[in-house]
Each structure stands twice: as C-alpha cells, then as structure tokens.
Symmetry: C2
Subunit: 232 residues, 2 copies
C-alpha cells in the first residue's frame, strides 16, 4: 500500500499562500519525480505540530512513516528512494556542483531577497507569528524591519546585481542543469518564487535570459509555481 | 606524429611569472588531461604575435595546427578531442553546472580580485604593457589605480565576503566537482592563483575548508600551481 507523501509547508495568514523558499524547493523536487504530495499548512510558531521531527523548522517530509527534515537532506532522500524517476542531480558530479548552487543561493541570494521583502512577509503572516518573525529577523540582520523598508530601492538594486552570474549562465543554456530543469534550478527558482509571492518586485525582466528561464520554471510541472498568486 | 600543444600565456616583466587566471585554467585543464604543453610568454601589447588567432587575447591554444581561443572553448575542445583522458566536466549535467561556476567566477570573483590587485599587477608588468593596462583597466572600473590602492582593505574584505559560498561548499566536500578536482575547481582556483601570484594577500586562511582546498589545488598535478612563486 502506498501512502501519500506529506509535507509541512509554511503558510501566511491566508493559509493558501505558501512562500517558503526551502519548502518550494521540495515541492518542485517532488513534482520533478512525479510524486504526489499532501501539503499541511504550518505557521512559524506551531513548533509542537512538528515536534515529532526532533526540530522546529519546515520543510518536514513524511513518507511512509519516515520523517526527513532539511531541504538538502530531503532532496538526497528522494533521489535515493526513487532512483528510477527523473534525477534531481544527474550523477555524482551533478550533485557536487548542485551543492555549490545551493550554497550560493543560501549565502548570497536568500539574504539579498530577505533584505528586500522581510517587511512584506511580516505583513502577510498570521498575527500569532508576527512577533516571533520580527524578533528573530531583526536580530539576524541587526536592524529593524522599518530600516529595511526605508532602503527598499537599494536592496532591489543589490538583488539585481546578485543575479548577474545566473543571467550569464542562462544566456547560454535553457536551465542551470542544462537542457532541462533539475534540483539546481529548483533551488534558485524557489528563492525567486519567494520574492514573487511576498514581494512581487520585478527582478528578472531587465535580463531576457533570466526572464525567459523564470517563465519556463513558472510553467514547469503543469504550472505548479504559477498557480500560487504573486504579490500585488 | 604528435606535436606538443602550445599555449600563449600572459607574462609579467619577469617572463617566468605567469599570472593570468584565464591562462591558469587552461594550464590546469591540460594537466588534468595529462597533456604536456609548451607555454609561450606573451605580453598584453604583443597583438601581432597572436594575430593568426583572429583576435588579441590569451589564452591561445595551438594543437596540431588547430588554433582555439577563449578559455571555455579551449576546455570544450580538450574534452571533445581527448575524451578518453580524465574528464573536465563529468558529463552533460556536470558541464551545465560548471558553466554557472565559470560565470560566478567571471562576474563576481574576478572583479573582486581585480579591484584588490590591479595596482600590484601594473607594477609587475613589462614597461611597454603598463600604459595599455592602466588605460584599459581604469576605463573599465571607472577609477584610477591609485584610487583602488587607497581602498585596499575594503576590497580585501569584499573579496573574503564573495568567497562565502565557496567556503560553504568546501566545508561539505573536498572539491567543487566532488571527490576529485575538475574544471569547476580549475576555474575558481585559477582566480585565487592570480591573486596569490600578483597580490599575495591572505584570503583563504580564515576558513579552514577553503584553505584546505586551496592547498590541495596548489599541490595537485605534481605541484604545478605551487611552482609559481607567490607575491612577496
């Protein structure tokens, strides 16, 4: 008997709005492997709901009684458990280099996007999440959400600058992983989906190679990412 | 009959000092494929010496009468021409993702290193190259070499910051390409070799994962890169 995979997925006040980049990676990886998933809306402060996972963050994946946390570990789990389905990494070298794309996304792209959209995320959250979010993020970035909002244009410019290597590569091939998307694309796109859903700023249109790829990724997997509305 | 591959290789006033990151990539790629090479010292203003290549920059590779320019094109040529030797890309996905590492190196790492070491490079060049170098580089960066030198500490800090994704990945695997080096490692290392030979600043020791990899790359291929002296 096969049970449907379950994914605890970060939600806004409107529980249909799912924005976490680390959860979007997993959604795309599951779609890449043609694995149906039941997502469970989860808020930052619902630590008790995922206490069974031994930690307090999403994504948390539950597959046939097995629990896996951390997006990279989930990708490795899916690749190892479903080897006959389309590959996320395309081999040992592909996986090693995807790790660099993952680390670039987390150390460069995520902070650049966070500085731009943290104020908007705060406004979208369930009221019971807002204090937790404000306190943890202001401590991490060492400034207030109001300070970040005041510098929005500078943060937008810095994000566009950070996207330069991505635009250069996509000017030469349709996806980061080559002729078709794979986990490297999922990771980078998920960061930009986070920005699209929470910030809605235009960060890709100035570079046609980048906007073409972004549109292809929105429409991939039967329009999975496009079905989530962008911020107004 | 096999003829030795020839490589036109950028040289300082002291013609034994070879520092070009784009030439070092090729040196390492050739060593990876166990292909001997005869390098030909070349200076920026010796355009006539490589006019046969149809353009004015090195690396220029000549192999059995065939001329190949541009470091990426040379890597593709070597991979296609010597497929039975150790791979530079490890497959189609490896090549696609190596392209991103290449573009990150060229759009992020090279400018960060250039801002730090352009004044030192200028001082090392053959006198007949110095005006050409100063004019073209000052135009590109929009400031004088003296301005760059005055901000050395800020440029050093920015370079260390730019290396964060690399350090994160190397904390989890011995090489960018996985268990052994490949062209992704050659490209990134060549940028840091450029800094080592011309600038000699310490940019890797604060991150043990980064310094460990840098040392392994210096010693790889029978110490090819280590044989070139660092700046004092």
């Amino acid at each position: 008997m096969t049970t449907t995979i379950k994914l605890y997925d970060l939600a806004a006040k409107d529980e249909s709005i799912r924005f976490s980049p680390n959860c979007w990676r997993v959604r795309l990886a599951l779609a890449h492997k043609n694995l149906p998933v039941e997502t469970i809306a989860w808020r930052f402060t619902e630590k008790q709901e995922i206490a069974f996972s031994g930690q307090g963050k999403v994504p948390v994946l539950v597959d046939a009684g097995r629990c896996v946390v951390d997006s990279w570990a989930i990708a490795e789990y899916l690749e190892a458990t479903y080897p006959d389905r389309p590959s996320l990494f395309n081999g040992v070298a592909g996986k090693a280099l995807t790790r660099f794309v993952n680390d670039w996304t987390e150390t460069v792209l995520h902070p650049a996007i966070a500085r731009l959209i943290l104020p908007e995320i705060h406004a979208m959250l369930h009221p019971r999440d807002q204090d937790y979010f404000k306190t943890t993020r202001e401590a991490f970035f060492g400034c207030s959400l109001a300070d970040l909002a005041a510098e929005r244009e500078a943060h937008l410019s810095a994000l566009r600058q950070a996207l330069r290597p991505l635009a250069a590569t996509l000017g030469q091939q349709p996806y980061l992983a080559g002729e078709g998307p794979a986990y490297a694309d999922h990771v980078v796109f998920a960061a930009l989906q986070w920005q699209r859903v929470c910030g809605g700023h235009d960060v890709t249109s100035a570079e046609s190679a980048l906007s073409g790829w972004f549109t292809r990724m929105l429409n991939a997997y039967e329009g999975l990412a496009l079905a989530m509305p962008a911020a107004a």
